[in-house]
């Protein structure tokens, strides 16, 4: 889902590659971060890391997996700087106001607000599994952990989401 790179003879330049991956990189970053300013930070930092490691990225067996790992690590690492950054951002940039309007599509969603509220690792597992369509091993590779850990993290995340949704819809919908 994130992006696919075709390695033809010679391969793309960094400029070409960055141009192709930016939209999908940003979308994935947004699903991880849950808001535009953080998504932009995470996507931008990831792009800088790709630039720094350009030769390694292109030499890797799967540039897509390599960059995905950079993205998830950047997201998880960025969490610790969040408090400081929020002190500086006292109001959202104006062009993103549409996301906060009462009838924005996101407001009508039932599970997305709860996904955004999950702890970062659990959220990352959910996004990698249900948006990127990765299997357990691929998620483990992206997060730098074992398959067992992915399984237990996903279990905790789904349990929390079911509970949150169950409370919200008490009696209206039965979840499997």
């Amino acid at each position: 889902m994130m992006f696919t790179v075709t390695r033809d003879t010679g391969g793309p330049t960094f400029e070409e590659y960055a141009g192709v991956i930016w939209p999908s990189l940003y979308r994935s970053a947004y699903l991880l971060a849950g808001n535009h300013p953080d998504a932009e930070d995470v996507a931008q930092q990831t792009l800088v890391k790709v630039y720094r490691s350009w030769s390694q990225v292109m030499r890797s067996d799967s540039p897509e997996a390599y960059v995905r790992r950079m993205l998830t690590n950047t997201f998880l690492s960025a969490r610790r700087a969040k408090k400081w950054r929020l002190e500086l951002l006292t109001e959202p940039p104006p062009e993103y106001d549409s996301a906060a309007t009462p009838h924005a599509p996101e407001d009508r969603m039932v599970i997305w607000p709860h996904v955004k509220a999950l702890p970062p690792r659990q959220r990352a597992v959910i996004v990698l599994r249900y948006y990127e369509d990765l299997n357990e091993q691929e998620i483990a590779d992206a997060l730098g952990c074992s398959r067992g850990n992915v399984k237990s993290t996903a279990h905790r995340a789904l349990k929390a989401l079911r509970a949150a949704l169950g409370e919200e819809r008490d009696g209206g919908m039965e979840l499997r």
Partner: protein
């Protein structure tokens, strides 16, 4: 009405992603030289100026086209370039350190009086004089939850913090992700034998989430990546005692070789609980550099032990050894590595720490460093 929650998640994530207004891609860095050590202080300074002025400072500005423009140049490095080599200077240490009861992180003093600190990969964990434990990845510090039973341990890469603690839920071992602050996993460790509860302490944790626990009677390896699965090391590695972890492997004491030169060794733990010897160590008190290529030990100071004023550094594969002499007439004690070349050491006079030194493997020398 039955609804599959996985279907909802999948559908909504796609709807959110497809409905996004993606901002324009930020400019690609064009500089080809390394400015990494320059831009960070500049960004911090810019941020601090913004805060001091009471204004709104953002590190990304938005142009008329709604796209993002960087407020300052990002760090750039030559793609595929060699890692930077830091020169041997008298600058304040680049890693968290403790001196005279004061803890310094990122050059700032952390409030309080402190008695011990460990650091790895930019993460630190320290004990305050009120016997509470704190950890962090910057000068901002977080309390280690519960009543800490034994000194918490950091994985060699600093990404994980393993803690034996007592909370209202009982005794448990926690594994915390130092990047996000989340508790990755927890396991109950209460062990009641002959009517007494014997707390487990954490003695090591590896980058791949193996946590080593022990009490007076049992030694366990908790496979934290596999939820609450534990391996009884009493059966798989009899009388082998994990003493710590390094980036080159676990430090293990062989109780059956007590008193012999090969009693302490570096080991790798298998999932089944075998401790495979990698090499013999001169003592348990070795410190290993981040990439696991060099180790340093010595000297000793005060008490009844013989004083060895120099530090010995060895390549972990045993191919090279060198002696690092104190920069003055004080004794030298290895503390921690700042990077793969630079080693921090304390300077002792009459058995008391009186200063710090920085030693370089590349330059085979040490110098006294400036302290705040």
């Amino acid at each position: 009405m039955n609804v599959d929650i996985e279907e909802i998640i999948s559908r909504e994530l796609r709807e959110v992603a497809s409905g996004l207004d993606v901002p324009a891609r930020p400019p690609v860095p064009q500089e080809r030289h390394r400015v990494r050590h320059l831009w960070r202080p500049l960004l911090v300074a810019a941020a601090m100026i913004g805060v001091a002025a009471g204004g709104v400072t953002v590190l990304v500005t938005y142009g008329d086209d709604g796209g993002a423009q960087q407020a300052s140049s990002p760090p750039v490095e030559t793609p595929g370039g060699d890692p930077a080599v830091r020169p041997l200077t008298a600058d304040v240490p680049a890693v968290p350190f403790l001196f005279d009861g004061h803890l310094y992180v990122d050059g700032k003093q952390v409030s309080g009086t402190w008695s011990t600190v460990r650091q790895a990969g930019g993460t630190w964990v320290a004990e305050r004089s009120d016997e509470t434990w704190w950890w962090g990845t910057s000068a901002e510090h977080h309390a280690v939850p519960g009543t800490v039973v034994s000194p918490p341990r950091l994985s060699p890469d600093g990404a994980l913090l393993a803690v034996a603690t007592t909370t209202q839920d009982g005794e448990q071992a926690l594994l915390i992700d130092a990047r996000s602050g989340e508790t990755v996993n927890a396991v109950q460790t209460a062990s009641t034998e002959q009517g007494d509860s014997i707390p487990f302490t954490v003695v090591g944790v590896t980058n791949d989430m193996k946590v080593f626990l022990e009490n007076d009677r049992r030694r366990l390896m908790w496979l934290a990546a596999e939820d609450d699965e534990t391996v009884d090391l009493g059966g798989t590695a009899p009388d082998q005692w994990v003493r710590g972890n390094t980036s080159a492997g676990l430090i293990v004491f062989d109780g059956m070789s007590d008193g012999f030169d090969d009693a302490v060794y570096l080991a790798e733990a298998s999932e089944s609980g075998a401790l495979d010897r990698l090499r013999t160590l001169p003592s348990e008190g070795v410190v290993v550099n981040p990439s696991g290529t060099w180790l340093a030990f010595g000297g000793t100071w005060g008490g009844e032990a013989e004083t060895i004023s120099e530090i010995t550094a060895q390549q972990v594969d045993g191919s090279r050894q060198l002696a690092l002499q104190p920069p003055d007439d004080r004794d030298l004690q290895a503390v921690t590595w700042e990077d793969d070349d630079l080693l921090l050491a304390e300077l002792y006079a009459d058995g008391r720490p009186t200063g710090m030194a920085r030693c370089s493997i590349r330059e085979e020398t040490c110098l006294v460093i400036d302290l705040p």
